[in-house]
Amino acid sequence: MADMAADRDEPGTAAMARPGRFAEFWSYFRENRGAVVGLFFMGALVLVAVFAGVIAPHSPYEQYRDHFLQPPVFIEGGTWTFPLGTDPVGRDVLSRLIFGARYSLFIGAVVVSVAMVVGVALGLVAGFARGILDAAIMRIMDIILAFPSLLLALVLVAVIGPGLFNAMIAIAIVLQPHYVRLTRAAVLGERTKDYVTAARVAGAGSFRLMFRTILPNCMAPLIVQATLSFSNAILDAAALGFLGMGAQPPTPEWGTMLAEAREFILRAWWVVTFPGLAILLTVLAINLVGDGLRDAFDPKMKRS
């Protein structure tokens, strides 16, 4: 990590170099075809989520009582009215999936923002203060990391009550130690560098040193971590929903949809297959982007 930051420009020239730097980044990122595909998929998913009300053929909550467990259009008995079939209470699977995109993206965005802001702040403090504060923060993070993430999230939700909002809080708590560790390690690597000393000598205060001088030079690993935890957040939230501790029915959240459909798996495979496929494709797309970002930020590694 340290040598990665070493071949960056000095911060003074950063403002001038920025457009060129983005172009350079993009030229590396573009080379990774999977990452570009993932990025397009995510873009499309965002559009689907935003325009869900226009695109979805039905309401995600409307129960068509003549169409329980109707198969999808491409097998016998399916109709174009319900392209991906209907669920056990006659709701259109496609429409629920389309609205479900909103939940997954929302969960990912909120969890990552909360975990990242808290984690980066704690990591900066730990790396800067050292001593007892550092030790205290890091031991607390060790404690959180000692529990399997899903188990801790599950227990936290059991304490504060099931529901989407509480599930997001629990997942954010479980994911933030990674940001703390990453930020602290980056700060420790950077703080003795000449440009930091120079800024300190020039009279920059602690806050300025933390946020303006050092943090921008630690961004690359944090961005990669953000994509990773975005997909983790979606997976964990779906798992909690599946276990009945996340979003509650009739919310069209993908994990919750799976839980509701579980007992029908041997009679109607489509009610189980499509929500899971949606989760898999979304997580896959994010991970593809994450891999691409990692390679693009660290071109040396890619060429080795």
Partner: protein, 336 residues
Amino acid sequence: MLGFFLRRIGILIPTFLGVSFLAFMFIRVLPGDPILLMAGERSIKADRYQELLHQHGFDRPIIEQYGVYLGQLAKGNLGVSIVTKKSVLSEFLTLFPATLELSLAAMIIAVVVGVPAGMIAAVRRGSIVDHGVMATALVGYSMPIFWWALLLIIVFSGWLGLTPVSGRIDLVYYFKPVTGFMLIDSLLSGQEGAFRSALSHLVLPAIVLATIPLAVIARQTRSAMLEVLAEDYVRTARAKGLAPRRVIGIHALRNALIPVVTTIGLQVGVLLTGAILTETIFSWPGIGKWMVDSIFRRDYPSVQGGLLLIAMIVVFVNLVVDLLYGLINPRIRHVR
């Protein structure tokens, strides 16, 4: 060397205190009064309430209560399940072999498939095999395993009728557990078909649980291998005319496996997380399902004890991995 060991173990003390404090606090921060919870549907008189409060020590300061809790832990007393009235520790120990068997089976699948897959991908870098392995690994890594389990059930249990859907063995077989491992016990019992039944119950959950570690191990092996293959000593080995098979299989693999061993150790947390979902779906009677059931039954002493024991397992395994790594790779010992 001893110093390194002691330092690593010393770091554990605050972690243990923290983990136990968290488990201790868990019951106290729950909404609702613990005494009223115990009384359940029956109402309780005020003086009896005070008596119970005192008897359980809930009227003492939190720190003192925590001290008492630690004292009980030291004696191996993790409380009693509200539902089964059995000791939490003995419940845990009865169920743990099931989880261990499932996890070991999953780990074996992950290593046996993952390491060679990663090796081949590295050796044939850029080929279609490499792309295939890496794409499959990425899909596996992104897999929501609870859905993957359901898919496998649809195909192998539903359509093909090959595997059972739940449990560890058919109910027609009964024998006393000796090792707690159903595969071994079924063989020891000597009953015809018992081993087959146990195996067919194990296959699907083990595959599901192996999926993510397998993907991680394959990716890790590939990148470690690529790094090692670029080293001078590998070139030297090649230059002196060793067979490529020998260079890759012995010289390169040995060093490439060092980071992979760490990765394997770090999968324990992943396995336990996966066990929660896998065991719930396949009704596998292990600690993952027990934890979920306990949470839903509001059996808080069990949740508390399980939380503590599971965290201890993770911490312990991480410590062993750390120490092993120090043994294999002397450079680590002297850092810090």
